[in-house]
């Protein structure tokens, strides 16, 4: 039963993505996740070439051009055992690829300012008693920082992953895909609380943080956020592992049962929601 439950939890996000996209677009969203998986296998085998698949990601989805750059930058501080030469090559190639795809990236990023946002700022400025005060609270940089903060907070919002944001929140620019059954929040919580015990946590935290930060710079991160599927799935699996260690077997089995029933209902709904 446990294996079925775990599978049910893992299948929601890819299934939603599959049902809402045409095949040619699917490739763009699935392949970065596959490249991260390849990178993980190399990391697990202690190969020093493990960042190589990560570097290739922007060539598949230019929106994710910052992902390897951030990954390389974080690596400098987090993986002190890697040589300086290794880090320098990683960051150099990442920046080179960012330079190559820069035009496609900027056109899809938060740095592209819309006319109406700029006009709004100009209108608001007139409301303030003095120009300095107005400039501090109403300026063009605010348009970018607001979008950035909005994206970052959406990406760390549990509601995004377990409730498609709020149930009554309208689907606007995002598809608000159903990513996990809502009861999966419990294994996730357990996993993050006991993060010190998680195996290969360095790699997955690196991917998770780089993923979240790079998605923060995208105008619409929806669907490209599938790069988070693998690290999140890993934490999800660890949460179940932790849950199965619970000494009170009855409550654990009851939770399994409840999770199974809920997941079946939610899964049945996915087919009709995305029909």
């Amino acid at each position: 039963m446990k294996k079925i439950i775990i599978f049910l939890g893992l299948v929601f996000w890819p299934l939603g993505l599959y049902l809402t996209n045409q095949t040619n677009k699917l490739w763009v969203y699935f392949s970065p996740a596959l490249l991260i998986l390849a990178s993980f296998f190399l990391y697990k085998k202690k190969s020093k070439f493990y960042p190589l698949p990560i570097i290739l990601i922007p060539l598949v989805d230019s929106k994710l051009a910052l992902f390897p750059v951030i990954c390389a930058a974080l690596l400098i501080f987090t993986h002190k055992n890697h040589s300086l030469k290794f880090k320098a090559i990683f960051i150099f190639i990442s920046l080179l690829i960012l330079f190559i795809v820069r035009k496609q990236f900027i056109s899809q990023s938060i740095f592209k300012l819309e006319y109406e946002s700029k006009q709004k700022i100009l209108r608001e400025i007139n409301l303030y008693p003095n120009p300095l005060f107005a400039r501090i609270y109403q300026n063009k940089a605010k348009i970018i920082s607001d979008k950035m903060i909005g994206n970052l907070l959406a990406l760390i919002d549990p509601g995004n992953y377990f409730f498609s944001f709020h149930p009554r929140e309208g689907i606007l620019v995002n598809k608000n895909l159903i990513k996990y059954p809502f009861l999966a929040i419990i294994p996730f919580f357990l996993s993050f609380i006991g993060i010190k015990m998680v195996k290969h946590k360095r790699f997955f935290i690196l991917i998770l943080v780089s993923g979240i930060l790079s998605l923060t710079f995208i105008e619409i991160f929806d669907e490209s956020d599938f790069i988070l599927w693998l690290p999140l799935a890993y934490f999800y699996l660890n949460g179940w592992k932790k849950l199965s260690l619970n000494k009170n077997k009855l409550s654990t089995y009851l939770f399994y049962l409840l999770f199974l029933l809920n997941s079946i209902i939610e899964l049945s709904r996915i087919f009709f929601v995305y029909k």
Partner: protein, 553 residues
């Protein structure tokens, strides 16, 4: 930390709290929302006649539009009217006063429950954070009952903890907690649960001989205070709010997420009500812990938020996450940890059973544990800084963030809110009332009711004689006050009739017509040859109201 420094920080925090809440109190927001006007006029009516505007003597819950209001706030306004008059300032003053009074009691409570290591830092930091909290400031400047209720809850819990060493204080605690319950709807759930949790935590002490006598006495007094509330607890009026809003009343609302156009065979599974309602409840509950709601979106309600200002400042986010980790992990925090986690987990419950996502009014009590957590995060971060230079850099960052936060408060509350949300605060009625006073007294006035309930605004700003209103506008007998839920749809205030304008009949005799820009359009003015007496504008230049005179000839 020296005593002098502690006192300076405490007093400065309180002064800051007073400045942020008292500055332009009664002037910003410039409008007066109809609920505020309703509470003010109910208090005025009680003061003048001993009855509310419906003729009910000293109600236990106050009839108000389509629901009922808790009584404590309204009775607190009554003695203020002879001092300040019936003004916007008066109806908002209890919110201000009790939001300030919450600070010293919270300080004393935290002093009692914080372990020695943080005994000075946590209480002072939390008080400071509360003083500049956008969430607490919003409800300290406007007429909302939740802030008064929070004061009674916090002071009650403080006296409870004081009672653990001096049992007589348990009586004061019982009185304050008993007042908290009828102070605001959400406290009907939060206060009893907090009392239960505190009792479970300290039951060994409380059930010993030393505490039993004051505990029983306190319980009896609390029961006596609660008797009026309990006597109407099963009436439709008392339950109106809870029934109308809660997600479990599936007979009234279709559960969120219900899918239409499903095959009949799949409907019972995919649209299973237990599943949908429980998912919505968990989602609503979790939304109160979401950084996205706390630091960016805030409350979606235009009167329970200010533009571009959430419930917390964005610079507090990393300290919230750090503090949350610390409060969950660090068992050495003992009573502080227990209180914070208990209040954190209980506080969103009344809000999570209602449909609105992230209702900051119903969950206001949550501001306390969240600020404790942010304070804890700040201290934890400070403790991790080893080098002097990084400590100085952190202090500079904090100083600049706080300065920026003050500017943000001014920008949102005083500038943007007035400009963008004046209509949400029912701006314009004060000027309408002033204009009415100057109109020819022998010509009747029709005030249109198409979009809002203007009668209460006019009653408030005209300071209309409550006795006369009660006599001319019978709506419900005192015996049916809590049970009859129907309403009248027109009102008479002397020569002012408040009802929808009838364009066929109202233009054939000479009278004044008052309505918003949709009720009296330019086309109607032309078509009926009306004379424009006055236009009243919102601060953003859009017409709020038009006052016209008919021209039957």
């Amino acid at each position: 930390m020296s005593k002098k420094l502690k006192l300076t920080i405490l007093v400065s925090s309180i002064i800051l709290a007073i400045i942020t809440r008292f500055y332009k109190l009664g002037e910003a927001p410039k409008g007066l929302y109809l609920d505020e006007a309703g509470q003010g006029y109910s208090a005025y009516s009680i003061l003048k006649t001993g009855k509310d505007e419906f003729g009910k003597a000293f109600p236990i819950v106050f009839r108000s539009f389509t629901d009922f209001k808790t009584p404590v706030y309204i009775y607190l306004i009554v003695p203020l009217i002879p001092i300040f008059g019936l003004t916007k300032f008066t109806v908002r003053f209890p919110s201000f006063l009790f939001s300030i009074l919450t600070l010293p009691f919270l300080y004393l409570l935290l002093k009692k429950i914080t372990p020695k290591k943080y005994k000075e830092s946590i209480p002072l930091l939390t008080i400071f954070l509360l003083a500049i909290s956008p969430w607490h400031i919003l409800f300290g400047r406007t007429n909302f009952e939740c802030n008064v209720a929070l004061f009674f809850l916090i002071s009650g819990i403080y006296f409870f903890h004081k009672g653990l060493s001096k049992p007589k204080n348990l009586i004061i605690s019982a009185i304050l907690l008993a007042i908290a319950i009828p102070s605001y709807h959400a406290q009907r759930l939060v206060t009893p649960l907090m009392v239960l949790i505190l009792f479970i935590r300290h039951k060994k002490n409380l059930l010993s001989n030393r505490y039993l006598k004051p505990l029983i006495l306190g319980g009896v007094i609390a029961l006596l205070i609660s008797i009026p509330t309990l006597s109407v607890a099963t009436t439709p009026g008392f339950l109106a709010r809870a029934r109308g809003l809660n997600i479990f009343s599936a007979d009234k609302h279709t559960p969120s997420g219900t899918l239409n156009q499903l095959p009949d065979s799949i409907k019972p599974i995919a649209n299973n009500k237990i599943f949908l309602i429980s998912k919505e409840f968990v989602s609503l509950y979790i939304s109160y812990f979401s950084p996205r709601n706390m630091f960016l979106l805030g409350d979606y309600g235009p009167r329970s938020s200010f533009p571009e200002l959430s419930t917390f400042f964005i610079w507090q986010l990393p300290f919230y996450l750090l503090g949350l980790y610390k409060i969950i992990k660090d068992k050495n925090l003992k009573e502080l940890r227990y209180f914070t986690l208990a209040m954190l987990l209980i506080s969103p419950l009344p809000a999570a059973v209602t449909h609105d996502p992230y209702s900051s009014i119903r969950s206001l009590q949550m501001v306390i544990p969240l600020l404790i957590i942010i304070g804890l995060g700040l201290i934890s971060f400070w403790e991790r800084l080893r080098k002097k230079l990084s400590k100085i850099a952190f202090l500079i960052f904090l100083f600049l963030s706080i300065i920026h936060s003050f500017g943000k408060l001014y920008s949102s509350i005083i500038i943007l809110n007035e400009y963008h949300r004046a209509n949400e605060w029912d701006y314009g009625w004060e000027e309408v009332a002033q204009t009415i006073k100057n109109l020819e007294p022998n010509i009747p006035i029709i005030v249109d009711t198409a979009r809002h309930g203007p009668y209460i605004e006019l009653l408030f700003f005209l300071k209309y004689d409550p006795r006369r209103f009660q006599n001319d506008n019978f709506e419900v007998s005192p015996s049916e006050y809590y049970t009859k839920m129907t309403r009248r749809d027109n009102w008479n205030l002397g020569n002012i009739k408040i009802r929808p304008i009838n364009w066929e009949y109202d233009t054939i005799k000479q009278q004044y017509l008052i309505g918003d820009r949709l009720a009296i359009s330019d086309g109607q003015i032309q078509e009926h040859n009306l004379k424009l007496v006055k236009e009243i504008y919102y601060p953003n230049g859009i017409i709020a109201f038009k006052i016209v005179k008919t021209n039957p000839n």
